[in-house]
Symmetry: C2
Subunit: 354 residues, 2 copies
């Protein structure tokens, strides 16, 4: 119907169900072929400034957005990253949230969206997403030493990034804080101040039982550092809840009165721990030195600001996404441990002469 003037409602909010504008509509609107619109959008072929302007005007006028499914089908790329998150309401939920936030933000920067997968769904979720082509890459948090969710992906070359390091990472990209080095830093700090008896108060027993990668690596680093620095050390898992913490503290002070320094790897236990120590007459730092592994904001807002190795959730999350993107570009798989940093805030001092 050339010659017939076309009326347009402008980019008025189109009612749902009302047919969304397609690339063909835009093409008609701009007087070009659909493929030309596609090339304007993707930039994969040169387009004259004039044509581009007309197409862009059409897009704006119609309020056009490419259909994600059609795009995925035609291009074999979904622009979606699958993220396997531990959703159990465990101890370190805020930390997990920081990771998720960092990953999501970074994905958006690369024009990717995030599909949420729970680790409780197990291996099934991963293969559903991969085999159904629902995502272009997968990031797995809270990796265990022996990682069952990934068996189906071994040898497939599908882009995977692990946050944490399993026993045999093999072909998978990994990124995480260097927890072993972090533990060493904590022990060193206390040892330098003159402490010779140091205990690790760790995560809940379940975390160790499950073989959670980072907890094991921190514990191993603690034991290794204690040995090499010649200090005596003990390790205690700490359950959730005020009374759990109190009972661990009671037992520790009773059975190992020589302990003057604590390394704490359990965000949730920090606050009740400080309180329990105070009640028992071992106020921090005078009666007990404490070095923690926790996010900065938690270390800062305790009753006593804590010397702590921070958990660089933002850096790790960002790096994880970058590793995924580099695999999508076909680059080689990397494994990367971020160096720890300890911030001194005053919760560790030389031990009382005894």
């Amino acid at each position: 119907m050339s010659g017939t003037p076309t009326l347009h409602a402008g980019a008025a909010p189109l009612a749902y169900g009302e047919r969304m504008p397609t690339i063909a509509d835009v093409a008609r609107e701009a007087g070009v072929a659909p493929s030309t619109v596609s090339y304007v959008l993707s930039g994969k072929r040169t387009i004259s400034a004039e044509t581009r302007a007309r197409v862009e005007a059409g897009i704006a006028r119609l309020g056009y957005r490419p259909n994600a499914g059609a795009r995925a089908l035609a291009s074999a790329s979904t622009k979606i990253v699958g993220l396997v998150v531990p959703l159990r309401t465990d101890v370190n939920v805020p930390v997990i949230m920081q990771f998720v936030a960092a990953i999501t933000v970074e994905c958006r920067r690369h024009d990717y969206d995030v599909l949420l997968l729970t680790r409780d769904e197990g291996p099934e979720a991963v293969s559903r997403v991969v085999q159904g082509s629902m995502a272009d890459a997968i990031i797995v948090m809270d990796v265990e030493a022996d990682e069952p969710r990934l068996e189906s992906l071994r040898g497939t070359g599908f882009p995977v990034v692990l946050i944490g390091v399993p026993d045999s990472p093999g072909e998978f990209a990994c990124v995480d804080l260097d927890f072993a080095a972090a533990a060493q830093l904590c022990v060193e700090r206390l040892a330098e101040l003159g402490h010779t008896h140091i205990s690790l108060l760790g995560a809940t027993p379940a975390v160790y039982d499950r073989g959670t990668s980072y907890a094991l690596r921190f514990r191993a680093g603690f034991e290794e550092a204690s040995r090499s620095l010649g200090v005596s050390g003990s390790v205690h898992a700490v359950g959730a809840g005020h009374h759990e913490v109190e009972s661990v503290v009671d037992r520790l002070l009773r059975e190992e009165p020589e302990v003057t320094g604590l390394v704490v790897h359990n965000e949730a236990a920090l606050s009740p721990l400080l309180q329990a120590l105070r009640v028992c007459g071992h106020e921090v730092p005078g009666g007990m030195s404490v070095v923690a592994l926790c996010p900065d904001d938690i270390a800062e807002t305790q009753a006593v600001p804590l010397d702590a190795v921070s958990i660089p959730a933002n850096d790790v999350g960002r790096r994880a996404v970058e590793l995924a993107m580099s695999q999508l570009r076909g680059e080689a798989v990397e494994q990367e441990l971020l160096p720890p940093h300890l911030t001194v805030r005053g919760s560790a001092v030389p031990p009382r002469r005894g």
Copy 2:
């Protein structure tokens, strides 16, 4: 090439990049038409038991999974729910995580996956997902009184469920705990015990400034209940961190010494609050009665187990998904406030005679 025997590798893990089996492959394998395979999968037409068996065997042998993009394109349904989550590392992160977990699990029960959207992305994220047909429905957490993210959806009929209640929900489905009734329950509990001066220690100031729906409704309910029960009440926002909490407690005890009961709507403040009260000689419950609004596990693991109205994250999350599903079935939009329940654990007792 009929007559040529076909060799199959079985459901061996197919290398990524190696062409995934399609519905046509399954059809060939089973000796039927592709549409027949589709009908076996969807159950939308009757299929003989024999044919079904052959098709299912083919699916198993090839390890076939329908391609999500193709399916979305052809059926105009993605089997994905968009979930807008507040990812700021705010106070009540564990609670948010509970909601997310409940929603995700319930979505999976309905064979839906969850696309994670951050509220920091604002309205853009919502329209990207809706207009790009990336999801069939959207659930929005952490709704504000004046909800800007949803303007683009008004009048479109796109399925939306809000967790929380904005000033003008209009056409949108809503579900949440009845925070006003919850506040009333807390005040009633203290009033029945004989308290006549009650303070609300609430969320961080930012939460109120932002107009967060649930915080405002709780505060309004508190004020209304205080008035109607004839008790005097005051309201204090409480910032994050130990020292913030201490300073609020100091000021409260100094400026309103008549207060004998506290209603606390701030999970993160609970532990430092109890500690601060003890330090000031107002041990709970003898020197100060406390009723909280928080998840059960938090109430239980405090130094003093708390009388608390629980936050039924699981129920709300599940209900939100159900409301989304019912909209997808074309049913009417509902708005629903869940009744609060108070569990007595001993942190509130009659005030000292004074």
